[in-house]
């Protein structure tokens, strides 16, 4: 029998109606049926506080300082401002735990995590938070260390919270997607695991996020949300299976392929002949993915795969939304050396960020403040026309170094030609 305080929750009860699964019903089950008295009581008072928020339209949690032995971050501390009324949930901290790349689990592992969490926590888990962590929601300062020690022993580590390298995210990827042009697993783990110290001990100006998408569909929203976005792509010709093109036209009609594929190409690089042969001007294809998304059988990425890297994406705070900017148009990731270069570049960027960003400034904001060229010089990357939508349009600029800069360009071109 539950020993929880049962608070009246008339507003939350409204969220038990309707066909979508109700989190409130789940909370009540923990309060009323779970064998752990600790869980009954904690979730009982959590429901009370949440109802109070619904009635007054205000939040009542405040932060603090809580971590585990040896780390400085990874926990979101929450202390209730109305803890006197709801004492059993007055401490309700969240542990952020790093998932696998692509969020793969076995049911056995899930159950093991649930067992541990029932021993030490509230029984509430989210897969996953917006940064990509498994969120173990609701435990107190005394239990956190025990829970962490237990799951740390069988392979799980905390993610980032605060001004640090954050937990990375990557898409379903090459494990199940024909559009994938990269090994998202390897990229994700090479990057974030190089910086475990920067994940666990927040010491950067502000957060730094890695996200990996296997193709330009960017299912991880990396360009919009990551300081360091890695996007799979290819640079040879896309593959066209002409027999499948004909099958597609047979199934959907000529009008459909004209209206939905040929005319929707952003660079008009496709033509369909009178005999239903599809031709692609690959030198003008920008790898947008639209035609591949529509004709999954007939069209595929090429064989010369690699990644594009965009730096500086972030959400609103403080200067407004920023997309990442192309810093590396194409990089092969085939060999151990390729991965070393990738990780080294990430380290250079994080070092430059740590030294040059203002407090609470994201990488993209720093680049906005100092200019892309200063950033590129700081991390020793040459300018490249792929980095801009268009060149400068205002003549108010001092350019007395033009001849030297032009010479650098021709030298680089000559090097490329001889390579």
């Amino acid at each position: 029998m539950s020993k929880a305080t049962i608070h009246d929750t008339p507003m939350l009860d409204e969220l038990e109606k309707g066909p979508w699964p109700s989190f409130i019903s789940g909370f009540k089950r923990l309060r009323d049926e779970h064998p752990s008295e600790h869980i009954n009581k904690a979730v009982g008072d959590l429901l009370g506080q949440l109802e109070h928020s619904y009635e007054t339209r205000k939040g009542y949690w405040k932060g603090g300082t809580v971590s585990v032995f040896g780390y400085g971050g990874g926990i979101i501390p929450r202390f209730s401002e109305v803890g006197n009324a709801f004492p059993e949930s007055k401490e309700f901290h969240t542990l952020r735990v790093q998932p696998t790349p692509g969020n793969y689990y076995t049911t056995d592992m899930m159950n093991q995590l649930a067992d541990s969490w029932e021993k030490y926590g509230s029984g509430l888990i989210t897969f996953h938070g917006q940064t990509g962590n498994i969120m173990f929601i609701g435990t107190d300062t005394d239990r956190i260390q025990h829970f962490f020690d237990e799951i740390n022993d069988y392979g799980w580590d905390l993610g980032g919270a605060g001004p640090c390298v954050r937990t990375a995210m990557s898409c379903v990827g090459a494990a199940r997607c024909e559009q994938s042009c990269a090994n998202e697993h390897a990229i994700h783990r090479h990057l974030v695991n190089e910086f475990v110290d920067d994940v666990h001990r927040p010491a950067l100006p502000y957060k730094f996020k890695f996200k990996v998408s296997g193709c330009p569909n960017d299912c991880q929203n990396a360009i919009e949300r990551a300081d360091f976005a890695v996007i799979g792509t290819w640079r040879d010709d896309m593959k066209v299976d002409q027999a499948e093109v004909k099958n597609f036209i047979e199934a959907k009609g000529r009008q459909y392929i004209i209206d939905n594929v040929i005319t929707r190409c952003p660079t008009n690089c496709m033509t369909l002949s009178d005999s239903d042969e599809l031709t692609v001007d690959n030198s003008n294809c920008v790898r947008c993915m639209h035609c591949l998304n529509v004709m999954t059988k007939a069209l595929s990425p090429g064989d010369d795969k690699g990644v594009s890297i965009l730096i500086g994406g972030k959400r609103t705070l403080k200067i407004g939304d920023l997309m990442g900017t192309v810093v590396v148009p194409f990089k092969k990731l085939d060999t151990a050396e390729d991965y070393e270069e990738l990780v080294e570049m990430a380290g250079d960027i994080i070092d430059f960020f740590a030294e040059n960003a203002l407090e609470h400034e994201r990488t993209g904001e720093m680049i906005e403040r100092i200019g892309l060229v200063n950033f590129l010089e700081g991390i020793d990357i040459d300018v490249n026309p792929h980095m801009v939508s268009n060149p400068r349009q205002c003549s108010y600029v001092r350019m007395d170094g033009w001849d030297e800069e032009a010479e650098k360009w021709f030298e680089r071109k000559a090097e490329e030609a001889s390579a």
């Binding site: 409204e14 939040g59 969020n103 024909e178």
Partner: protein, 358 residues
């Protein structure tokens, strides 16, 4: 725990995912040929080797109690060889090689109250944040808003017959942790913070707070003989950026913290470059427990998009084609002076042409 019992953490970082991956996916890693969408909520991927894998996707309440989690793992044990994954939007996915298991698994999921769908051109599960349940600065709830809206949008989740996929996001403050979406429902404060001057000096690092303001509206001041901060309310944009570093600058207001609705955020490079969302409606009441006013606007936008957009057009593609005047006309939403941007780069959003649709 006593200090002598403490042990150093094993800094293992991000674990290897291959150990938890279905053997058929391990075997065909990077070797997939194409996919099909046999029915809503189900994907079929075929590898160059000829191997097939069927994915069944289901929506959940996202904040899972261990009972719901164990129900999901039980279904995975019974039908999916014990392998699962989660999507970016907190849907669960089961992968099986045997087509015969697909229909019984769908039935088991639906019998347990989970919603099969969310694939292809659906209104996907809304991505959301923590809200009143766990955030320290929320203007509204997150899970509750999403539960109430998904109740109303469930058919679009299950049927997958929109012109293209629709990603909806919610955020409980203007930092917008929920992220960019085809439709975003975000808290929008409308009044400057209310300052408890008795607490500022003890709680807030004042230079940090001054630096946090995007429009330099905060300055140090002595108030009632105590060091505090004051806000130039003519400059203040009511963004709430000062509230996290200085909780005595309370921005959340039960009446004046409203919701705003934004459309056209698109993460994909398909067709056009990725786009940020644009403001379409504001002043929407923050009305728990079911937020009917916000839901009504979202449904109105979705109805017009579904009727008006061509195949494969995301919401931003659709509006690009029909133009913003027509968008406001068909949705019945008012166009106000607040829609005209005055933030940095605003000039790029003005129409400097005679390209006008009549």
């Amino acid at each position: 725990m006593a200090l002598e019992d403490m042990r150093s953490p094993i800094e293992s970082g991000c674990p290897d995912g291959f150990q938890y991956m279905h053997p058929t996916m391990r075997k065909n890693f990077g070797q997939w040929k194409y996919h099909e969408h046999p029915r809503p909520g189900v994907l079929l991927h075929v590898a160059h080797s000829g191997d097939q894998i069927w994915t069944v996707k289901a929506g959940t309440q996202r904040i899972l109690d261990v009972y719901s989690l164990r129900k999901l793992t039980e279904i995975g044990d019974k039908f999916a060889d014990g392998y699962i994954r989660f999507t970016l939007r907190s849907n669960i996915e089961y992968m099986v090689t045997d087509e015969a298991k697909v229909e019984p698994m769908i039935k088991a999921l639906e019998d347990a109250g989970f919603i099969v769908g969310g694939t292809a051109n659906s209104v996907a599960m809304m991505s959301h944040t923590q809200g009143w349940l766990h955030c320290d600065i929320p203007g509204t709830d997150a899970s509750g808003v999403v539960k109430a809206m998904m109740d109303e949008l469930i058919d679009e989740f299950k049927q997958c017959n929109m012109p293209n996929r629709v990603h909806i996001t919610t955020s409980c403050c203007q930092i917008n942790c929920g992220g960019q979406g085809d439709i975003a429902i975000n808290v929008q404060h409308t009044k400057p913070p209310k300052i408890n001057h008795d607490l500022v000096a003890n709680v807030c690092e004042r230079p940090t707070v001054v630096a946090r303001c995007p429009v330099a509206a905060i300055r140090p001041a002595m108030v009632n003989g105590k060091p505090s901060l004051e806000v130039d309310e003519k400059k203040c944009i009511c963004c709430g950026a000062c509230f996290p570093p200085c909780p005595p600058m309370q921005i959340n207001d039960p009446e004046n913290s409203k919701l705003a609705i934004w459309v056209g955020g698109n993460h994909s490079n398909a067709r056009s470059k990725p786009t940020f969302q644009k403001l379409v409606a504001a002043g929407v009441p923050n009305n728990p427990p079911r937020w009917p006013e916000a839901t009504a606007i979202v449904k109105r936008i979705l109805k017009e998009y579904k009727e008006g957009a061509k195949d494969w057009e995301r919401i931003n593609d659709w509006i690009d084609r029909i133009g913003w005047p027509r968008f406001f006309e068909v949705t019945g939403l008012p166009f106000t002076k607040y829609h005209i941007d005055n933030w940095r780069g605003a000039r790029n959003s003005l129409n400097a042409s005679t390209h006008i649709r009549f």
